[in-house]
Amino acid sequence: MAHVATLIVLFPLAGFLLVLLNGRNMSEKQIGAVGTGAVAASFLVSLISFFMLLSHSSREVTVRLFDWLSVGTLHVPAALLVDPLSITMSLFVTGISALIHLYSMGYMHGEKDYRKFFSYLNLFVFSMLVLVLANNLVLTFVGWEGVGLCSYWLISYYFDRDSAASAGKKAFIYNRVGDLGLLIAMFLLFNHTGTLTYLDVFSKTGTLSPTIATLTVLALLLAATGKSAQIPLFNWLPDAMEGPTPVSALIHAATMVTAGVYLLVRMSPVLAMSSSGRMSIAVIGGATAFVAATIATSQKDIKKVLAFSTVSQIGYMVLAVGVGAYSAAIFLMISHAFFKALLFLGSGSVIHSLNGEQDLRLMGGLKKYLPLTFPTFLVGWLTISGVPPFAGFWSKGDVLTNVFEHNKPLWALGVLTAILTAYYMSRLFVLTFRGTERFREVTQGHDPHESPWVMTAPLIVLAVLSVLGGVLDLPWVHHNSLAGFLEPTFGYVAAGGHAGTLAQWGLALVDVAAAVLGLLAAFSIWRGVTSSARYESAFLEHVWRWDDFYDATIGRPLARAAQFSDDVVEAQVIDGAVGAVALGVARSGEGLRKVQSGFVRHYALATVLGLAVIVVYLVARVG
């Protein structure tokens, strides 16, 4: 067991080092093969570990690698925790990553920094796996910041574009603010439980006072809002679309941005200690889901729509965590990874065929030119819209059913968000694939091309997964389901059990109605129209003016304060005070004027003389 799970992490690390150190001697194909192969191997090992875990009597296996930080009472090993939650995460992370690596071989073909791209991508997978497999919070933090760093590098991949460079920096800074939360959560937990190892913390949650528990949960929530792009730290994610599209699919949709949800789920025994903490989580999740969905209705860039859609969907996951529906959150996380990766890669294929154009107003009628991208995208669209029997219907339904049992207003907000989801996705679908062809100028009159097989094959696999993903956790199956597998990991499971069968049918009908309503609205509005001031308000297009608000309330005042420190405090107050003292001393004695003669030799002499004076003084004193 021990060695096998270690390999999950080591394969991508080896791939990273190989490409980084030896990439210059490798062809593009070899680099792609090594990068993709390393992640695929990691996926296979995850599968093996999964089956070993199934046959194992204990579902929690700790793999100690080496002693990392050990000082006084602090003991932080580099160690892995192999349990249902971490293995589930590893499986879907490595699986999706392998597909996106394959896709990137085609998408990034001919790029100048091909080698760097694949080494970053492998480093990302390594960091993500460290994040989910770590057996303690500090090691999770290694992966947590590691994925943030890779995200920074990959967003600013086209670094000669100022927008890309700024977007990368913005992502890192926003994430850092969130990381502050994780640091403080660690400080609190170490201070009150004396350990940072997950299982040890969980065995001592009973000793946490309600205040400390709530503070810890809020700190964890801050961490999650940074990494998972939730209110108030969500507005770095749309900028992150500056990165190449496979990066958006992998990091900014399927895997990294779900890390915050993973962290909250992992810490569920601590969440169990604070109902007000959980309530805050649910409210943040619900609000983000709704706000982001409204913004997505008015974006003109295909990737920005998908970015806000991602923020919104993660909002659902956070909402699920907040009501204690942990397995529903993970279920949505996995199915979302399938369909959102599918949609992003599909949009990448569209962008690829239009020579890099991302503006929805310059698309349309692509259906007949993209024979593989179109049907797979169609599947993705229906899945995210919540149409049965695709995976999204089951996973979103699972979340909403759980929310209904705990909090009716948040459930209503969730349903409203579901209508908006179906609406903005249908708008995107219509503007891209249907209607008149508006791309001739972009393609200089040529017909758009379908992408090569390395790009379409992952689309097909993801489409199949989106169709079938629902079987992971069908509501009437309780054995061999994802929920059944995961539940032992959680310290607290939503009380009240499952809703009655009748209520479940009723809620399912509401979900279907929401999807249909959104679809119909979009089709009736966006038939033959490409932009509409009425349905794309500037307020929504500009993200509720969120950036302007931060700029006015935080950015500019801080910049002014820093400038003031430089101009006034440093130059005049502090230096002035010292100068005044020095001047006073100099003026007080005529003889001292010679000291300030400006020749360093005199100062050196003064030092030596000073030492002589010490000696004389001592002799006099002793004598």
Partner: protein, 500 residues
Amino acid sequence: MHSSLWIAVLLLVPLVGAALALLTRKTEGRAYVVAVAAASIEMAVSLVVALLYNNHLAHAATFDFYTRHVLSAPLGLAYDVGIDGISLLMVVLTSLVVLLALLGARDRRREPAFVGWLLLLTCFTMGSFVAHDLLEFFIFFELTLIPCYFIIGQWGGAQRSRAAMKFFIYTFAGSASLLVGILYLGFTHQHQPGGGELTFGYGALSSTAMSHGTAVWLFIAFAVAFAVKSPIWPLHTWSPLTYAEAPTAGSIELSALLAKLGTYGLLRFAVGLFPLALSTMRPALLTLAVVGILYGSALACVTSDLKRLVAYSSLAQIGFITLGVMSGSQIATVGAVLLMFNHGVITIGFFLIIGFLEQRRASITVRDFTGLQGPAPVLAALFTVVMLASIGLPGLSGFVSEFLILLGTFATHAWWAVFASIGVVAAALYLLWAYQRVFHGRAEGANLEITDATSKERWVLVPVVVLIVALGVFPKPVLDRISPSVQQLIEHTTVNGVTK
């Protein structure tokens, strides 16, 4: 216990090297060869000392390589040296700094006088770190000023005499207060019941009985000198000017090494000798540390010159060290000692790379650079590693020390740790912004023609990168050496920290 001859070798090698370098002629360029040879021997001996230290006994806290010879009983003057887990890293840092400064900072290195001063500075700094006697420490501490004056004042930039003057005024004032403090402590010890001979030995003085008020005044007298040297806010304003005006090797020596004399002195002497003062002085110094972190970060955001950026970033980093040193927590203090070393390594990296840029473009102004990652990807990558370590990215060295400091301080002084943590965000802000302005964007004109790191430049930075990664991934050997000594010191301050 190992022979004290090892320390004698550490002190003599740079001294002999300096003498030999000064005997060579300026035109021959042999001074540089001699200096590198001496620095290499020094480095090798330091590493052997680090490996031998207490025979790998993980929990030995005693001073190794110890000896005491009284040179003059009536003067209380003694040659009293030893190395414990706290000074061990500083010894290694001292030799690392001079070796890399010689190898990497290519300006002026052919001048016998310049390399001679560098080696003398190494000898004096080494002496300060191994001194186990306060008077002896003071003499070495004070002697370090002489080479510094010459390095800044003769080989510095356009404003070198102003920089040297400012440096002088500050440090001299600080030293005066330290000297008064040391003498007062020595005489107090001599005149206490059963005091006997005049001594400035660290061991003897640490058991000096004194009132709370005396302890506080002595603590302040010591702390002022160390605060200037470190520098701790608000006694820092000499440092941006001096770091910017000094030649590259001088900036490295000052910020990577001599700054640590301040923080080391604060821990070893101010905290170690005056436990009674701590209850009063802790809140004040912790607050200054936090202000330094935030203030340094703010100024690093708005400064327009790369060396000043590192100076203000160092002010923030020294704030973290001070926080750990004053926290009273074993974990945080270990982190602080480790950060003294890590910050040294990181600063070497920063100043070397800035020196490389200065050589190419004759400028250190941020505005003069743009898009360097295109023409100089290796230089950009090397800068990135150093920058990320400074930001505190887990897996690299800076994180380990910063994390230990904040975690430990949170347990004893939670609010200070929380505010200090904001510095973690701020570090990312000013460094990434600087990186964006210098390395991102589209290179044009002179920036487009910039050459990437040469193989010599790469090799000089290899030790920096290796230390940054190694101490981030596997800091255990180092932590095991620091920890017992720190534990002993913390226990001493806890036991003696209450009025009997």
